[in-house]
Symmetry: C2
Subunit: 360 residues, 2 copies
């Protein structure tokens, strides 16, 4: 069992990583308040882990409320959020209630936003059950729901009390979702850590085989990098934007195809290739660097070619991205493999990168 810490100005919190964590009541209790523990999960995760978690909470002495909502990105909306509010209110949950988010990134974002806004904020615990959530979305306090006009447009920065990353939960993760999570793992190598990138190139086969030692190292290093970046820039005024490599293109893919058509990590993977192409056109990466980006993503079993939505539609969707400022689209680009930067790029310069991204 490993423990990291997210160090924030006003309050830090631990990330505990290891097998069998959701069976340990002493661990879960570390994040609980004095009131009801409201476990929010999806109808896909509930049959797998809900009973284990509620049993553990009950053993720890908590009164437990179960809130099961529909699964998937297309359910990350106001209607589903309202199901959570309804259940909390119908069960007289007060400000001492702790929300336990049990699931992947969608559940973490949705339940986290419910925690941020229920009675102006109640404590919450992240219990991620997908690789993507373990290495990315459960750490750092970004919560949100989608709006028909844009992904994650409604949300809050709101930090959990505790992240409990139980690696055993990955055993039930479908292969496509597992690979989607690898998209975010390789991202950390591209933006921040060339040595980790080399390690990933050397260990991708082990990761694909879900080798426990390789997996634990990849999760720990990913969480370390993310926690370090979030501690430097909680509200994304600077370096935190690096974490969005591939996300401007990726969000356009997700929104353009309809939420849930491509998984988040798949869209980000194709988006990272587009961002690498753009980085090359901006004079930073070499052709060989871009080929390396593409090759590692392909080896992770992820798409390297973006869907052909049409350039006008891409720009339309990207202009609504949260990084956009005053109409100019800002991109996360690579200065070199292992270091990112953020810059606005005129559409005319992006067009050839986009053309390369949809055709290669």
């Amino acid at each position: 069992m490993d423990e990291l810490r997210v160090n924030l100005a006003d309050r830090g919190y631990p990330i505990v990583i290891g097998p069998g964590l959701i069976r340990q009541e002493a661990l879960l209790k570390r994040g609980l308040g004095s009131g009801i523990a409201a476990v929010v999960t999806s109808d896909r995760i509930a049959p797998l882990y809900l009973k284990t978690v509620t049993d553990t909470l009950a053993r720890g002495g908590a009164q437990v409320l179960e809130i099961v909502v529909p699964d998937g990105e297309q359910a990350k909306n106001w209607e589903t959020l309202n199901l959570v509010y309804d259940a909390l209110l119908a069960n007289r949950c007060d400000r001492k209630t702790t929300i336990v988010a049990l699931g992947g990134g969608v559940i973490g974002d949705l339940a986290g936003f419910a925690a941020a806004t229920y009675q102006r904020g109640v404590p919450f615990i992240q219990v991620p059950t997908t690789l993507l959530a373990l290495v990315d979305s459960s750490v750092g306090g970004k919560t949100a729901i989608n709006h028909p006009l844009g992904k994650n447009m409604i949300g809050a920065f709101y930090q959990p009390q505790l992240v409990l990353a139980d690696t055993d939960t990955l055993s039930t993760l479908p292969d496509r979702e597992y690979r989607s999570g690898l998209g975010e793992v390789v991202k950390y190598g591209f933006i921040y850590d060339y040595a980790f990138l080399e390690w990933l190139e050397a260990n991708m086969d082990a990761l694909l085989a879900r080798d426990p030692a390789a997996l634990t190292h990849a999760i720990r290093r990913s969480c370390e990098i993310k926690a370090g970046i979030v501690a430097q820039d909680e509200r994304e005024t600077g370096i935190r934007a690096w974490l969005n490599l591939g996300h401007t293109f990726g969000h356009a893919i997700e929104t353009g195809l309809g939420y849930g058509e491509w998984l988040h990590g798949e869209a980000v993977a194709a988006g990272m290739v587009a961002a690498a192409e753009l980085s090359r056109l901006q004079g930073n990466l070499s052709v060989a660097d871009v080929a390396r980006v593409r090759r590692l993503i392909k080896r992770a079993g992820l798409p390297t070619v973006s869907p052909d939505l049409g350039q006008a539609r891409y720009f339309d969707l990207m202009r609504i991205d949260k990084k956009a400022e005053g109409g100019a689209i800002r991109y996360v680009l690579l200065k070199r493999l292992g270091e990112a930067y953020v810059a606005p790029v005129p559409d005319a310069q992006v067009a050839p990168a986009l053309a390369a991204a949809v055709s290669n």
Copy 2:
């Protein structure tokens, strides 16, 4: 022109009080970011002040977006909030957008919550146009919308950049709404400042006549008290709860009768009488003290008798109050005139106070 400051740990902000403020572009600019200024107002306030405010913003060089939503407490809900999100997204508002809340408490709460949650938070300015908003809701960063099961149940603590309290806007305020605001003004005397209470008793006629000198003093002292309390306890873990004198009963009245039937200040006024009765039964206030509370509220033209919803319904509605913890209802009570405290009180002890409140 007076200026106060709300001193908070991470960021303070000014409250500017005086006549003609919404015509002064230099003032409004103090709270603006670099992006679009999105003015959120209601269809009742828009014909009165929207053009003045947008002209002032435009003179200051801002690009302005007008967002006009339905008026009233019954519109403080998700549907109206979504109209704001829709307009912001349709107009490509980015994270540098500043939301300007132009209106009473409902607009301030709703637009403030939109600011707290749009793209995980954008800057906002409060421009209150009712007495209640000037002396209470525009200061302190509470934002919220209502849920069918409870008032202000969905919200966030989110501070504005600036509060611009233009006393000229009170000239168009209907009498009933003006008196509703006086309910919150007298509250400050009851909970925090016996000298201010005496001043209010001596100057109620001048206040009812909207005498500028009396009004300015009452607004300034109210904002001072509120800013001082908020600075001590931004997230309401202690003394800030005092500001909710009468609100536990009052929210039950508002929800029980249906939002908008009674104005907020009216419900709080009747609720303060109930709280005073309960304070007497708890052995704190004298019969004469309660009579003094009742008399001042009556002189302000506000209801002193609570509607007879039935005791069971009252308890039901009050148990969902945000101050409730673990099932016990907590009340803000008066230790003496000029000082409040918070305590849980068993229903059996509250029942006679409630009986007195609905029949006197």
